[in-house]
């Protein structure tokens, strides 16, 4: 089983070993890059079809089922369609920026995968400040969105871009802040070390994942909410709202460039899901000690899949928010709560010194209450901030 | 004792807090305001009892603190705990407590109930501060605060013009005495450099104090001036009868039991400063006052006024006792008097309350049946005041004074004056009791009189017990009180009662008292009400007595008229002489100003105009650089930076 766990590492080392010695680092790097691009490219394709199928199930219809077995080849058909479509550039558009925007959207996202540990010994780049790198890279997508919205010279595009940027900036605060407790307790910015910090086991062989602590659970929920907004997914997809601003900054894009945007968005989702898995769900670690024999990359993939399914499920469930609701939610609920979560993590750390056996549940309940009560109150305050329900004067 | 002295500041602090809190209360919170006052004074009472218990073994303890630095010297204030202060504190707090409780009933109908208790608490705090002060300065501060509280309470019903005038009169008259006190205090400070009473051998009352006899006499007399004012001694007694305009509990507490006794206490406190010469003056003043006031009391008709003159007279006895016999004699009478006089005033208050505010004894009568409890208590007080032998406290304390006066080595006159006073006291008190409680009720309010509520009668009865019992602590046979104050042990010896001179004095005074009571009872017990029998017999003398020997009129004719004339003269001086001088100066100034203006306009302005033109011109020239263009500023900075860089890097070789 050890061999299966390390099979990708082994393959990479063997392949690189055939190359002449000076070129070995380069070959190894190319192999890793190719591997990541292949895996997540496939992931992209599979996710599109999975999303459509799952949405279909949830909305009581079939979803795509014509191409290939059960419609599995639908992504290929879509790709062909996209690539053969006419690439329309508006007459008054800023041509350069219009061209650059999808590239700026997609390219940096690939870099973000470099620091994610996909399995044991399977991270492309073990950066000391990995998570900082991750967020620094992520900021490029905002520029891309602006470029797309601005260059199209279309007021829907511009409004969409403004909304998207406002939303991304607003939700970047809780996104980053919700990761801080993890960094704080792991004592490192390196993602590998964060996974290592979750590697020990506690009673019954249960892993010490962050999600099993009150602050970790709250952090994961906050992180997922912020991540949903950060990747412009429903219910926070109003910058791309088709019915309101005809897909926002994507209005003037078609064909290959549109596909690139699409790819960029999904890759962003993947990257951030991978980060969530790494930070809160123990990365490639097994949940129980006696499950360690399952290959680590399989664990990572499994958790990744569950979270992706969660995103799709949320998309099928919740309606789109209004802009003021969106911003209020970020600044008046998520951001304060992440700060409180920071304090809760500190309290958890301090109470770690409690000796007795009975202390563990007490500690758990105490910290959970510390985060749950503010959440309750902030939620109530938020409800008051929403304007009263609309009155219909003529349609009764 | 050393430990408790550190906490006796709490005794005055508790009512002070209550006063402060009461001042902040809204007027409607009656129960809370009164509860605060009563609670605070109860706390003080308990603390005082503790302090008293600590002093039973004798001795003295003091604690002080620095108030402020005054140049090189620091002014110290402090508290002292000794038998003198402790017995006074217990007496004050007990009387205050009883009178506060009594006031709950007496003042129940008043709209300013809360304010009343606030003022009363303030008074209690100041009085206790005075009693426990270990510094003449703190004593003086409390003394003046007591005066302020007295002023406020006399004028409590300030809607009545008479009350407002009485408050003013009391305040101003006592101020005259306080002026002497202040001067005496300053003289003492300049002489001794300290105002602390006891300071482990360095206080002004400690044994090693050496002062010249002459100066010391002067200081003692000046301080005695304050006592004259406060204790209503002749010739500054005029304010005390008028002070009866205040509510009756006020009269009982302040103007009978405690504050007016503060003068006596003052003399007792600074007794080591009193030279024999000074004490002689004290004795004479006391003796004169005792007879003088008792004589006036015979002819008064207002129930409270009679008691007021009686108070003056008794204060005279106390002074006489201090002067002739010493601290213990005076203080003993002070203590017993406090109880029975408070009792009498409260009884009078009960009577007035029952008669719906009537104060004239001629309009009362026959109240014995309608107010039995009040009558019983009042009779006890009356007999104590008269000095009915053996069972009443007044007998023992007054007798001690008479005994001391009998043994005075300078003169026998005070003794005879004292005997005369005792007779007069018995006479007027019997007259009053007969008029109020016996005979037929006068038509009007007296017929509908009713007994007071228990909240008023209960303190009366307690005071009656005290008025009777307090005397037994200082009989010649068992002089516990005297020995306690002087720091000795009292032995029980009945034979002292039968000691030659003491027995003589006792028998003599008892006989005089008996004569006074019987005669007065015979005259007034069956008289018709309209005209006083004495008036029919001696109209001239009676008129003289009724008009209080014309002292007020005398003051009006002399002091007040003189002051008025002097004020007129000052007015004239101000209007004619000073105004004229000022006006002349004004004209001079105006002339100078005219001249100045001319010079200014022609000479100075021209110069300045030229100067300002230059400044403005240069400013305009300079403002061209300040054109609001930030980029230009930045440019200049850049150029300057280049210049600086060149100068720094390559400039060194140039120089």
């Amino acid at each position: 089983m050890r061999g299966l766990d390390q099979i990708f590492v082994w393959i990479g080392r063997e392949v690189a070993g055939w190359a002449p010695a000076p070129a070995q680092p380069l070959v190894s790097a190319i192999l890793i890059i190719a591997g990541i691009m292949a895996v997540f490219g496939t992931c992209f394709a599979l996710t599109t079809i999975a999303e459509r199928k799952i949405l279909g199930r949830m909305q009581n219809r079939f979803g795509p089922n014509r191409v290939g077995p059960c419609g599995l080849f639908q992504p290929l058909a879509d790709a062909v369609k996209m690539l053969t479509k006419e690439d329309i550039v508006p007459f008054s558009a800023d041509k350069t920026l219009h061209f650059l925007a999808p590239l700026v959207m997609t390219t940096p996202i690939w870099l973000a995968f470099a620091v994610l540990p996909f399995g044991r010994n399977m991270s492309a780049l073990d950066l000391d400040s990995g998570i900082l790198f991750f967020f620094a890279i992520g900021s490029a997508s905002e520029l891309a969105v602006f470029m797309a919205g601005w260059s199209s010279q279309n007021k829907y595009s511009l409004v969409g871009a403004m909304r998207a940027i406002a939303q991304m900036i607003s939700y970047e605060v809780p996104l980053v802040l919700s990761t801080v407790p993890v960094l704080m307790l792991a004592g490192s910015l390196s993602l590998n070390e964060i996974v290592a910090a979750q590697g020990t086991h506690t009673l019954g062989g249960l892993a010490r994942w962050n999600v099993f602590t009150p602050w970790g659970l709250a952090g994961l929920l906050l992180f997922l909410i912020a991540a949903t907004a950060e990747s412009n997914r429903s219910p926070f997809d109003l910058p791309e709202g088709e019915s309101e601003i005809i897909a926002g900054y994507l209005t003037e894009y078609s064909g290959f460039k549109y596909a690139l945007f699409f790819l960029g968005e999904y890759l962003g989702l993947f990257a951030i899901t991978g980060l969530a898995v790494t930070l809160f769900l123990g990365g490639w670690r097994a949940p129980f000690q006696w499950l360690e024999w399952v290959p680590s990359w399989l664990w990572f993939g499994g958790k990744f899949g569950v979270l992706i399914f969660l995103f799709i499920w949320v998309r099928a469930t919740l309606p789109r928010l209004r802009l003021d609701q969106l911003l209020n939610f970020s600044w008046r609920f998520l951001a304060p709560l992440t700060l409180i979560n920071l304090a809760v993590a500190a309290a958890w750390h301090w109470t770690g010194a409690w000796e007795s056996a009975a202390a563990a549940p007490v500690r758990w309940v105490l910290c959970a209450a510390l985060i749950a009560l503010p959440a309750h109150w902030l939620g109530r305050a938020l409800r008051g901030a929403v304007p009263p329900p609309r009155k219909y004067h003529y349609a009764e | 004792m050393e430990t408790i002295v550190k906490y006796i500041w709490m005794i005055p602090a508790a009512p002070l807090l209550a006063a402060g809190a009461g001042a902040l209360l809204p007027g409607g919170r009656r129960r809370l305001g009164a509860g605060l006052a009563v609670g605070a004074i109860s706390v003080s009472f308990l603390l005082s009892c503790a302090a008293f218990a600590a002093t039973l073994g004798g001795g003295r303890a003091a604690s002080h603190f620095r108030w402020f630095d005054f140049g090189a010297t620091s002014v110290q204030l402090g508290w002292v705990l000794d038998p003198l202060g402790a017995v006074m504190a217990v007496m004050v707090t007990l009387a205050s407590l009883l009178i506060f409780i009594y006031s709950l009933g007496y003042m129940a109908g008043d709209g300013n109930f809360t304010r009343f208790f606030c003022f009363m608490s303030l008074f209690a705090a100041a009085m206790l501060g005075l009693v426990l002060a270990n510094s003449l300065l703190l004593f003086f501060i409390s003394w003046e605060l007591v005066g302020l509280a007295s002023y406020l309470l006399i004028g409590f019903w300030f809607q009545k013009p008479a009350a407002a005038a009485a408050a003013r009169k009391a305040f101003i008259t006592t101020r005259i005495g306080d002026l002497g006190f202040l001067v005496g205090m300053l003289a003492l400070y300049s002489k001794t450099g300290t105002l602390l009473f006891y300071d482990s051998g360095h206080g002004c009352l400690d044994e090693n104090f050496v002062g010249g006899l002459v100066v010391s006499t002067a200081i003692g007399l000046l301080i005695f001036c304050g006592a004259i004012g406060k204790s209503g001694q002749f010739p500054l007694h005029v304010w005390l009868p008028d002070a009866m305009e205040g509510p009756t509990p006020v009269s009982a507490l302040i103007h009978a039991a405690t504050m007016v006794a503060a003068g006596v206490f003052l003399v007792a406190r600074v007794y080591p400063l009193m030279t024999p010469h000074a004490l002689q003056v004290v004795t004479w003043v006391g003796a004169l006052t005792a007879v003088f006031a008792a004589a006036i009391a015979v002819a008064q008709n207002d129930i409270k006024r009679i008691l007021a003159y009686s108070t003056i007279s008794q204060l005279g006895y106390m002074m006489m006792g201090l002067g002739a016999g010493g601290v213990a004699v005076g203080m003993f009478h002070l203590t017993t008097h406090a109880f029975f006089k408070a009792l009498l005033f409260l009884g009078a208050g009960s009577v007035i309350h029952g008669c719906r505010g009537e104060q004239d004894i001629r309009k009362m009568g026959g109240l014995r049946k309608r107010m039995p409890l009040t009558f019983a208590a009042y009779a006890a007080g009356m007999m104590a005041l008269c000095g009915v032998p053996l069972f009443f406290s007044g007998f023992w304390s007054k007798d001690a004074i008479l005994d001391a006066a009998h043994h005075w080595r300078f003169s026998q006159a005070p003794f005879y004056l004292g005997l005369l006073g005792a007779f007069l006291t018995a006479f007027y008190m019997t007259r009053q009791v007969c008029a109020v409680f016996f005979g037929k009720p006068a038509p009007g309010d007296a017929e509908r009189a009713h007994e007071s509520p228990p909240v008023m009668t209960a303190p009366l009865l307690i005071l009656a017990v005290l008025a009777v019992g307090a005397g037994f602590f200082g009989t010649p046979a068992w002089p516990w009180f005297q020995k306690y104050l002087e720091g000795g042990k009292a032995g029980f010896d009945l034979s002292k009662l039968l000691d030659g001179s003491a027995l003589t004095v006792m028998l003599l005074s008892s006989a005089l008292v008996a004569v006074g009571i019987v005669w007065s009872g015979w005259v007034y017990g069956r008289a018709a009400r309209e005209t006083d029998p004495l008036e029919k017999a001696q109209p001239a003398l009676f008129a003289c007595l009724r008009q209080k020997f014309f002292v007020d009129e005398f003051y009006a004719a002399t002091v007040i008229r003189l002051t008025g004339a002097f004020a007129m003269f000052c007015d004239w001086l101000d209007r004619v002489v000073l105004d004229g001088a000022v006006r002349a100066l004004c004209w001079l100034a105006v002339g100078l100003a005219r001249l100045n203006r001319n010079v200014d306009e022609s000479v100075v302005n021209g110069g300045f105009d030229a100067g300002t033109e230059t400044v403005r011109g240069s400013g305009e020239w300079m403002s061209r650089f300040q054109n609001g263009q930030t980029q230009r500023y930045l440019r200049v900075i850049g150029l300057a930076f280049c210049g600086l860089l060149v100068l720094l890097l390559w400039g060194a070789s140039w120089f």
Binding site: G138, M147 | F641
Partner: protein, 172 residues
């Protein structure tokens, strides 16, 4: 050699971005070019082994300041619409002259400094942990001050940019 090439590339990106940012007419292009220059600079930091500073530069300058500038550009678009007036300031020549002069001075100073030549860099390692420890120990006061400054700046910016409420309520 590789190092030199990397430096030259990054330097070229930075300078080109800066020059473009300062010369282009379209404000949005200017802002994006400035972002490019910031990113190039971040790359140079990385090349200088200042990993943390490089990522911070990227996060703050590209992720935040560039976006802020873009937002401001969008919010003041009315200024662009106004006709007339050159893009450059009235005293453009003088400005350029002063800029060139300062640059010349600086480069002259660098050239004239003999101490700069032949200075071999030492190998350094600046792990994040040590940066954090230093921030929490030696530099804790500056850190707190910076936190305070940022909070003040945040509030100040919000207050300055706040739209003033209308003076008179609209008539009903």
């Amino acid at each position: 050699m590789l190092n030199e090439i990397a430096f030259l590339l990054c330097a070229a990106l930075t300078l080109a971005g800066a020059v473009a940012a300062m010369t282009l007419r379209n404000l949005a292009h200017c802002a994006l070019c400035a972002a490019g220059a910031f990113a190039g600079l971040a790359a140079i930091y990385l090349q200088l082994d200042a990993e943390f500073a490089g990522f911070a530069q990227l996060l703050v300058y590209v992720g935040a300041i560039a976006i802020l500038i873009l937002f401001t550009v969008l919010l003041t678009r009315g200024a662009e619409i106004q006709p007339g007036g050159p893009a450059a300031s009235t005293s453009r020549g003088m400005g350029l002259g002063v800029g060139a002069l300062v640059t010349a001075c600086l480069i002259g100073a660098i050239m004239a400094s003999p101490g700069l030549r032949g200075h071999a860099p030492q190998t350094v390692h600046a792990p994040v942990k040590r940066i954090g420890e230093q921030l929490m120990n030696q530099y804790v006061m500056p850190l707190e001050a910076i936190g305070l400054l940022l909070t003040a700046a945040l509030l100040g910016a919000v207050i300055i940019a706040l739209r003033e409420p209308p003076k008179e309520p609209p008539a009903p």
